[in-house]
Symmetry: C2
Subunit: 175 residues, 2 copies
Amino acid sequence: MDMQSLRETVRPDDARAVRETVASTGFFSADEVEVAEELVRERLAKGPESGYLFLFADDGADTVGYACYGPIACTVGSFDLYWIAVRRGHQGRGLGRALLRATEERIAQVGGRGIYVETSSRVQYHPTRAFYEHFGYRKAAVLADFYAPGDDKVVYCKAVAAEREQAPRSPSVAP
Amino acid sequence: MDMQSLRETVRPDDARAVRETVASTGFFSADEVEVAEELVRERLAKGPESGYLFLFADDGADTVGYACYGPIACTVGSFDLYWIAVRRGHQGRGLGRALLRATEERIAQVGGRGIYVETSSRVQYHPTRAFYEHFGYRKAAVLADFYAPGDDKVVYCKAVAAEREQAPRSPSVAP
């Protein structure tokens, strides 16, 4: 996945693209698909003030994956990563990784300190949890029976390394 | 506090009442006061579909306290208790307790299973944490440095006893 094909602007037809992308994964309930699309509509209605920031992965004219994240109100530098999803048929090409990395970079650029991700304890979400763990997210909390009886909320957190301006090269000290 | 003076309907002037109530406590930052008022505006704009439910405690023509709560999207029976605040000068009369109890009853009536409250680890919030602990909320998670460096998020949870219709009296088995 070439990073150049990531897009931050949000367009009206992204509501449909997000709905189709999220639904195509087979991972999410109808309610969850609805929420995913609603965040795009909130963003379209209110702009960045909505608190929902997006990264879309475009493949030609098709949007094949996206991330949705944003600053958490009343915190200094904490961000929620609300969604990452890659359309079925486009998975396994590193798109999820590229979206995650690019999201982390953008959060670091605006001074973010920590990124939070919430997911489910269900077996179905094992690949999701493994994905975040692979990229350095650690389990910060488990809320038992949060989503439903037997379905816990697992909160992952990753500390963000602040972006600094490129340090100047050390002067040569060769003898 | 007589329970009859609690009100669920939301009126346009509640935005101001909430702002004044929250600000009067001296507990909350300008950002937090803004968020508290914004939830009233969301509710006024979208109705109960906003996901924000309210209880107002009225003292004559004055609104002197309120609770804001709502179902958590994509969960079965989990509720957030977003705010409870009592106007300075009206504290210490059991209003907070009455609002909390009435909120719990309403959540139970609609089949809620669990209530979540998020607060800060700061010393300033010790009375807040003590309040919830006194009423049976247990510390379910701590997210270090969530609000700011050194300012953790503490998540409290209380299981809700489902409201049942009054069981009929057992028939008399007196001999």
